[in-house]
Symmetry: C2
Subunit: 333 residues, 2 copies
C-alpha cells in the first residue's frame, strides 16, 4: 500500500481565465445567462473577445483553482488536466506549479489551443462565464496516472469534465482506480446549467456510489432534483449521497452525512468584488480540513474563509496568503 503522497488530487479542465468588466446590458445584448457558464466554440470565442473590454489573464479552471487553494492552505495538492504546448498552456503550467501544485499531465503538441474562459464581471461582482474548451477536450483515460490517483486521499472531479466527451472516460477511470486503492472520490456539480445537461448521469454517479462526496450550491441542488424548494432537494440528496457539502452564499453551508447535518454561517465579507472561484475555494477549504483530520464544522469554516477571501478580490486564484488568514482565524495551526 502506497503512502498518501497527496491530500487532494483534482481532475478538471485546464483553463486560462480572461476577466473583463461588463455592464448588465452587455450580457443581455449577447444573450448570456448571468452567473452561469456557457460553452462556446472558437469562432464565438473570437467574436466575444473582440466585443468585450480590456482583459486580465489569470490561470483558472474550477478543479485547478481548488487544487491551488488546497496548496495555499498548506495541504498537498495535485492536478490532472490538458493544455496545448502554446502560450496560454505555458502560463497555465507555470502558474499551477508556482502555486505548489503537482502537475505533470503532458501538454498536447497538436490540435486545439489551450482552453480559455471569457469571464464578464458585472458591477455587482457576479461573473458570467463563456468557455472555449479547446485542448481540455483532449483529456483521455491515458492521462490518468494510476500511481498519482492511488497516492491521493481524495480525488476531486469537476462536473464540467463531463462536457468534453473523451474526458468522461478519464473521469470514470480515475474513480475506479481511487476506489480500488480504498481512496475517496468527490464530485462538484459545477453549475446549474451543467447539471441540466447531465442530470441523469450525475444522479447515476451519486446513487451508484461512483462518487462518495458531492459538492453543490443551492442552484445546482435544485436543478439536480428539478425542484424550486430547497428542503425538498436536500431531502433527496440525503437519500442519494453518502456525504455532501451544500453552499448557499450568504446563507452559509452544510455538510450532510449519515450522522446528520452540520451547518455553519457564511464568512463576513466587507465588499463582494468578483464571485469568480467562490465554489472552487470553498471546496479547497473543506477538502483541506476533511483530508487533514478536522471536524466537519471546522472544515466547513475553512471553506467559508477561503470562499470569503476569493470573492473580496479579482480572479479565482488567491492574492493574499490563505494559510496566514486561516491561522489568524484560528482554523489551522
Amino acid at each position: 500500500m502506497s503512502a498518501h503522497k497527496l491530500d487532494v488530487l483534482a481532475i478538471g479542465n485546464a483553463i486560462v481565465d480572461v476577466l473583463a468588466r461588463a455592464e448588465d446590458d452587455f450580457l443581455a445584448a449577447n444573450g448570456m445567462s448571468k452567473g452561469s457558464m456557457a460553452l462556446i466554440d472558437e469562432t464565438q470565442a473570437q467574436q466575444l473577445y473582440a466585443a468585450m473590454g480590456p482583459g486580465t489573464e489569470v490561470s483558472g479552471g474550477s478543479a485547478a483553482n481548488t487544487a491551488v487553494g488546497v496548496a495555499a492552505l498548506g495541504a498537498r495538492a495535485g492536478f490532472i488536466g490538458k493544455v496545448k504546448h502554446d502560450g496560454l498552456g505555458k502560463v497555465f503550467g507555470h502558474d499551477i506549479r508556482a502555486a505548489g501544485v503537482a502537475f505533470s499531465t503532458p501538454a498536447a503538441h497538436e490540435g486545439a489551443s489551450t482552453a480559455r474562459c471569457l469571464i464578464l464581471v458585472t458591477p455587482d461582482g457576479e461573473r458570467t462565464m463563456n468557455t472555449y474548451l479547446g485542448a481540455a477536450q483532449d483529456l483521455t483515460a491515458a492521462d490518468i496516472d494510476a500511481a498519482i490517483v492511488e497516492s491521493a486521499t481524495i480525488t476531486y472531479l469537476e462536473g464540467y469534465l463531463w462536457d468534453p466527451p473523451a474526458a468522461k472516460e478519464a473521469f470514470l477511470t480515475a474513480a475506479k482506480i481511487a476506489h480500488k486503492a480504498h481512496r475517496k472520490v468527490a464530485l462538484t456539480l459545477s453549475d446549474a446549467f451543467c447539471v441540466d445537461r447531465y442530470r441523469g448521469e450525475f444522479l447515476e454517479l451519486i446513487r451508484s456510489g461512483t462518487v462518495d462526496l458531492v459538492f453543490c450550491n443551492e442552484a445546482e441542488l435544485k436543478s439536480l432534483y428539478e425542484t424550486a424548494d430547497y428542503d425538498t432537494a436536500l431531502t433527496h440528496l440525503k437519500q442519494d449521497a453518502c456525504e455532501a457539502v451544500v453552499t448557499r452564499s450568504e446563507k452559509g453551508a452544510s455538510f450532510i452525512s449519515a450522522e446528520g447535518i452540520v451547518r455553519v454561517p457564511a464568512y463576513p465579507v466587507h465588499k463582494v468584488v468578483d464571485t469568480t472561484g467562490a465554489g472552487d475555494l470553498f471546496a479547497a477549504g473543506f477538502l483541506t480540513g476533511y483530508t487533514t483530520g478536522l471536524e466537519p464544522a471546522e472544515s466547513l469554516r475553512l471553506g467559508a474563509l477561503a470562499a470569503g477571501e476569493i470573492i473580496s478580490q479579482i480572479g479565482a486564484r488567491p492574492h493574499r496568503n490563505l494559510l496566514d488568514l486561516a491561522r489568524e482565524g484560528g482554523l489551522l495551526s
Copy 2:
C-alpha cells in the same frame, strides 16, 4: 492644416505585464534593484519566469498605459508601438483598442516574440520590473504614421524607447513631424537607471528643444543632473526645459514653466497595493488636462487623482471608471 484628431499620441514599447507577488528576499537573491526597471534577454526572462510565483497577465507598457489613462478620462488617445502577431501580441492589441485607444501599428510576422515585463510586487506595494523587449525592439521610423502625429495635439514619448536601437530613429522622426506641424512633443524620463544609461542624450533632447515638455519623478531628476539635492536638480531643469512636470510620490507634484512653479499635494490614498503605473497614470491625467484646456494646477490634480487610483489596485490599467472618479472629484465635467 489638419484637425486635431487626437489629444495625445503616445509612442512606446508595446509590452504585456506579468505581475507576481514576491518577498524582498527574492529580489535580493536575484540581484534586483527594488523599484527600478532592468532589461533582460529571452533566456533570463525564461529563468526568472520559472522562478517567480503565479502570475497575472495585463497589457502594459509605460506610454501605452498613459494612452489608456487619457482615453479613460474621456480625451482622444492614440498609440504607436510594436508587437508580434502572437498570443501576447493579440492580447495587447485587443486590450488597448478595447480601452478606446486608436492603435494601428502593424504587428511583426517574424522575429522576436511580443515584449513582456516580469513585475515583482513586494508586500510594500513597490514594483520591480524586468523587461524582455522582444518585438518592441523592431519599432522603426517606418512605423511612424505622419498623418497620425500631425493630428495629435501632443506626441508623448517614453524614455524607455531609447533602449531599442532602431526606435531612437522612430522617436526623432515623430518629434520632427510633430514640430513641423506645430504640435508639441513630451518625453518621460521613465526610470532613474534609464536616465543613467542615456543622460547625455536626454539632456541634449531637452536642451535642443526636441522635447517641449518633460515628465520625471524625483529619482529620475536627481539622476539626470547627478545630484542628491532636489532643489539643485530642479534649478537645472528650470534652465534646460521649456516645461516640465515633476512628481514626488506622497510629496505631491509640480509644473514648471517660464511663468514659475505650480505645486499640488498628492491625492489621499487609503492603502498602496501596487505602484505599477503610478507615473504613467499621472502623465495621463496631466496630459488630459493640458490638451483640453485646464489650468496647470487642475491638470496636476487630475494627474494626482489618476495616479492615486492606480496605486490602490493591482496593475497599471485602471479597473474603476477614471472619468467618473474625476467628475466626483470636481476635476472634469
